[in-house]
């Protein structure tokens, strides 16, 4: 996963300017900021509001409506475990409980060393290969505890 940059208002303005010509530029702007900074922090709100001629409340409301636009960066690596019904039929809830338990995390928690965040996700469209997950955006299927451990080891998490 590419390392996110620290907040930089100048760069944020550039990202906003890159997308402002689109019809309905809000989501493309927010995705651009997320990609650059690993989150959409509160500091971005007035800049977007100003550029799009919206109130800060409207911008804040939009950002917080969507699960993706986290306000703080996640860990260096992100494991998104699917909780959809198809994965549940293959024991994903039990698997998630074991993984979270082993890491000492609750859903959306980050390990103390800041290396790994574990999030729930509701369906990855890999439902005939359940249980499934995305690790840093790469899909994993037919998961069990060992396979998760192997995948984490590949990104140097033990």
């Amino acid at each position: 996963m590419p390392q996110a940059s620290a907040w930089n208002a100048e760069r944020a303005r550039e990202i906003i300017a890159e997308h402002i010509g689109l019809e309905g530029p809000m989501l493309p702007i927010l995705h651009g900021l997320l990609e650059e900074f690993g989150c959409v922090s509160g500091e971005a709100v007035p800049l977007i509001a100003d550029a799009l001629n919206l109130t800060r409340a409207e911008v804040h409301g939009t950002i917080t409506f969507y699960h993706d636009f986290r306000s703080e960066p996640c860990g260096v690596h992100l494991l998104q475990l699917c909780r959809g019904e198809a994965c549940q039929s293959m024991g994903s809830e039990e698997l998630a409980a074991k993984i979270l338990g082993k890491l000492g995390l609750a859903w959306k928690g980050t390990t103390k060393d800041g290396v790994l965040t574990v999030e729930p996700v509701y369906c990855l469209g890999l439902c005939a290969s359940s249980p499934t997950a995305l690790l840093d955006g790469e899909p994993l299927g037919r998961l069990n505890e060992n396979k998760v451990a192997e995948a984490l080891e590949e990104v140097h998490i033990r």
Partner: protein, 516 residues
């Protein structure tokens, strides 16, 4: 030079297709054998993934499910010329899972390189679009009407009527929007198309643009599908470069431009009006209807919003005629449905067939029971908002009307199988919990009803006045069903009440159940 086909569909990647492709390339190099590895979409037989295919004089021969460890033995067995090996399945199209299908929408998926214009054109690509240009907007819409195609996103509204409404509405600008926010658990058909046959979606949307008089289209893809988004974005670029998108398509007077937008993890944005709000850059809040999007949709302009599968059915309808498509099917459910068999199932994957199979034929005949080998206990059809069916209802025909008559829905075509270890009270509770997490918050029955619903189920299970609370749950479900603005709150009663109705034994108070 032998051509080897390895899928890059996300579900194949999840089972190691990239490492497999790399290993095949390395092994071929080490053995001095010349191979060309072509990355395709998936054929949809996911129990065979990663499925490697080799081009031979006898046609393509498949080997699957293949793994890195087995690559040397595949070479030893002479798989490059179709040699015998335990993983050899013969010609994939003759495999029992694929041979019984009627592939209209998925005719190319898993066969061609998804980003090859030549591959697309060689398998009937662009024929529907050419015909639409020839016959003009009115006749284009008439073909879709004649096909009897109904919206494959879930609601099943006749696509042709929708198109005619937008075509008959005059405006300075109109839009075609593709709903690729495929959030239902147990469904993956939209993802497979975007990753495996993206030009078909571009062609379908362009035909729609010609039919209704729109020059701009948007595809709204969910962010949980990063690979689909990436492949589709590349496909748009390739199509534009080659003149399949732009000001004069095929040298005609018709212009059409397409843009991909990614969602941001909100399930409710799969609901068409909240998707439009999201595209406009707002919170994805459901709009009250009327006005219909066909009258007043994106940026208050007449808008067709169709699911990926509806739009991808259109090129075939134009190419071969509406009647050809309508000749498949059952009752008022015409054409083919890409059924997605998922969950705890032995042979899971995409099964496109004419409407009319029974649910039992799908689960027992095609899926051949559970992956775990235990008895099937429940099947959820139509995603998180679809009903749970017990095996005693397996004679229900798979079509819109028969499912509605049994308090269910086929939705986007997902069929999720559960074995006898499933706790149906937990699944009912999860349905309410999911609704509470994903509710857009606009209407009270959904926003508050889902939270209260979970609490009521908890009380039943804790043994607090269970009979009264079950009655209350039914009452609450009725309020949600009839009082919610959209299908999120309105359909959550389907999984909840079907679980209560068909699996009542799971709703015994927990302490009591343990004591028995």
């Amino acid at each position: 030079m032998t051509r080897i086909f390895v899928p890059k569909d996300a579900a194949a990647l999840a089972l190691g297709a990239n490492k497999l492709a790399a290993k095949i390339a390395a092994e071929a190099k080490a053995r001095g054998q010349a191979v060309e590895i072509v990355r395709t979409g998936s054929r949809g037989a996911f129990f065979l993934e990663p499925l490697v295919e080799v081009e031979t004089p006898q046609g393509r021969i498949g080997y699957g499910p293949a793994s890195v460890a087995e690559v040397p033995s595949l070479f030893d067995a002479g798989f490059l010329s179709g040699g015998a090996h335990p993983l050899r399945i013969g010609r994939p199209e003759e495999h029992r899972f694929l041979a019984g299908q009627t592939r209209l929408t998925f005719a190319r998926c898993g066969i061609i390189d998804p980003l090859s214009l030549a591959g697309y054109a060689a398998m009937d690509g662009w024929k529907g679009l050419k015909r639409a240009i020839e016959i003009g907007p009115q006749s284009t819409v008439a073909e879709v009407l004649k096909s009897g195609l109904r919206g494959r996103g879930g609601a099943g509204f006749p696509t042709g009527i929708k198109w005619k409404t937008a075509a008959d509405t005059s405006a300075d600008r109109k839009y075609v929007v593709c709903n690729a926010d495929e959030g239902d658990s147990g469904t993956f058909a939209d993802r497979m198309i975007m990753e495996g046959d993206p030009f078909a979606l571009i062609e379908g949307m362009t035909i729609c643009g010609i039919g209704i008089g729109a020059a701009k289209g948007y595809v709204y893809c969910r962010s949980e599908y990063p690979h689909a988004g990436k492949t589709f974005a590349e496909a748009i670029g390739i199509a534009r470069e080659a003149g399949y998108l732009g000001p004069n398509i095929f040298g005609s007077k018709y212009a059409f431009e397409l843009e991909l937008r990614m969602g941001a993890g909100a399930y409710v944005c799969g609901e068409e009006t909240s998707l439009l709000d999201s595209l406009e850059g707002k919170r994805g809040i459901v709009r009250a209807k009327p006005p219909l999007p066909a009258h007043k949709g994106l940026f208050a302009k007449p808008t067709i919003i169709n699911n990926v599968l509806s739009l991808v059915a259109v090129p075939t309808i134009l190419d071969r005629g509406g009647q050809f498509y309508a000749d498949f099917g059952f009752g008022r459910s015409r054409g083919t449905m890409p059924i997605q068999i998922a969950g705890n199932v032995r042979y899971g994957g995409l099964y496109e067939t004419a409407f009319g199979l029974t649910l039992g034929e799908i689960v027992e005949g095609i899926g051949v029971g559970t992956y775990s080998g235990r008895p099937v206990r429940a099947v959820q059809c139509g995603g998180p908002l679809g009903a749970y069916f017990p095996p005693s209802m397996f004679d229900t025909p798979y079509d819109y009307e028969a499912f509605a008559a049994n308090d269910g829905l086929i939705g986007h075509g997902g069929v999720v199988v559960f074995d006898d270890t499933v706790d149906m009270a937990k699944m009912a509770r999860f349905a309410m919990e999911f609704c509470a997490i994903e509710s857009c918050g606009k209407c009270t029955p959904c926003r508050i009803g889902s939270v209260r619903g979970r609490e009521v189920i908890d009380r039943v299970l804790e043994g607090v006045k269970p009979a009264e609370n079950l009655a209350l749950l039914e009452d609450l479900c009725n309020t949600m069903k009839f009082g919610s603005l959209c299908a999120l709150g309105g359909f959550v009663p389907y999984p909840v009440m079907s679980a209560v109705r068909h699996f009542k034994e799971d709703f015994q108070p927990r302490a009591l159940a343990a004591a028995e």
